[in-house]
Amino acid sequence: MAGTADPATEPNTPIAMCAGGISLVGVTRVLGGRIVLAGLDLHVSPGGRVGIVGRSGVGKSTLLSLVAGLDEPDAGRVTVAGETSAAGRLARCALMPQRDCLLPWRSALDNACLALENRGVPRSEARGRAAVLFERFGLAEAEGLRPVRLSGGMRQRVAFVRTLLAGKEVLLLDEPFGALDAITRAELQEWLAAALEGEPRTVLLVTHDVEEALLVCDTVVVLRGGRVAAEFDARIACEGTRREIVTSPAFVELRERALEAIG
């Protein structure tokens, strides 16, 4: 963990990290006899935010599992912050799964503390550190509530804070807002973009929503046929209110081109 600020020793916000890059070279993965990824190449520079879009079943989640170190490729190499082994990648990445995966028996705050507790931080100290982020992200009143009492949007926010508190250089977000209604979803996209501004990390966001990828990320990659079919610079989307951005001609054009690439 050389060069990494460990939040275990620095309780104060922001829990910023020196970000590591991600690189996939000729990655092939066969699942159940089907070639899901076929010699895929992808590079994410340290601190980069890349959105991965594509039709369902195109291998987006498989890609994330490989990067996370939860899975190994059949061919090719996956490198995260210089680490090529699965264990090394696991140590560098935090994954926010599709479903919020909050533990129903833990309060929102204690759910967010999981990674810290796993690393041996005493619960009271972990709670204190999580509470700071709850405050920052507008979750203060949710602290003591169990997940069942939280709205879908709140649950996703708690799941995101839990992922952040892992203190990893690389954040892997797998359809984080897939289960939310359109309004909450739009709200959380803005929230996520703002939250990531204060957190210099490498982000891989998997989504089927092109607009979401363009709004949150600075590069959008289209996955098709097991490879990267197209790559778009999404940085034009970074100024103005959400409505202004979404209706601007440049954004609309970009979205159309991305949708076309998805096919």
């Binding site: 939860l70 935090a94 994954l95 799964p97 533990l103 999981l114 507790e117 839990r162 992922t163």
Partner: protein, 250 residues
């Protein structure tokens, strides 16, 4: 409280009919006692029954605790070792085909006539639902939660302690509740195989003298015992996993 009225009303009606039929048909008490005869036996033999109940309660509680402890340990071992699971689980199922009534005398020969064989019989009767439910509960852990824990630096031990075990608690409690209803029967089997006290012993003693009301009184006390244990386990469940009810109601 209103949910208690229907079963209570039905029970009261049943007892009423029973009393009327026995009286109308002039059935002698030693053949089939009326509820009033059972009640008077309960009252007149109160001292005797109380002493016997104390003995049986001890057997039930300690035997049950033994079953919970051993059951949980065995279930966790089975959970962690696939080889052990494959080897032992079928044998455990097989062991359930051996009637406890048959085992009890053997245990009495092996362990003597003290409390030990009774504890073992109670434990054997209660052990199985606890093991099976615990193993199932641990194995039905959501794989997605495990993946999430792994990317959050969760070791195997952390995953067990923070995800698998708490997640299995509702299943463990279902097993414990089923086991609670078996415990009293186990204690009686144990006493029948050889004892000088306890409700099972009182039942055996009352049989030759055809003191059927007293036997019924014993059965009544045993039922109450099982019900108390069940209620206590349910209460513990409410305190230990309050979140489960919330999730179920949501």
């Amino acid at each position: 409280m209103s949910r208690w009225w229907p079963p209570l009303a039905l029970l009261a009606a049943g007892i009423g009919v029973w009393e009327l039929v026995v009286r109308a048909a002039h059935v002698p008490d030693y053949l089939f006692p009326a509820p009033s005869a059972v009640a008077s036996s309960l009252a007149s033999d109160a001292g005797l029954l109380a002493d016997a109940t104390l003995v049986t309660v001890r057997e039930v509680i300690f035997g049950y605790l033994l079953a919970v402890a051993v059951g949980l340990v065995v279930a966790v071992l089975l959970h962690f070792s696939a080889a052990l699971r494959r080897a032992l689980l079928p044998l455990l199922v097989l062991s359930q085909t051996v009637p406890t009534v048959v085992l009890a005398p053997i245990l009495a020969i092996l362990l003597g006539f003290g409390i030990e064989p009774k504890l073992v019989v109670v434990a054997i009767v209660c052990f199985f639902p606890i093991v099976v439910n615990t193993v199932d509960g641990l194995r039905s852990t959501d794989r997605e939660l495990v993946r999430m824990m792994r990317t959050l630096d969760g070791s195997r031990a952390a995953i067990f302690r923070r995800v698998e075990l708490p997640g299995a608690l509702p299943a463990i409690f279902s097993g414990a509740r089923i086991a609670a209803t078996y415990a009293a029967v186990g204690a009686v089997f144990g006493e029948w195989a050889g004892s000088s006290s306890g409700l099972g012993f009182v039942m055996l003693q009352s049989q030759p003298s055809l003191d059927t009301p007293r036997i019924f009184a014993c059965v009544l006390v045993l039922s109450a015992l099982a019900l108390c244990l069940y209620g206590f386990v349910s209460l513990a469940e409410r305190f230990i996993i309050p979140w489960h009810q919330e999730v179920a109601n949501a």
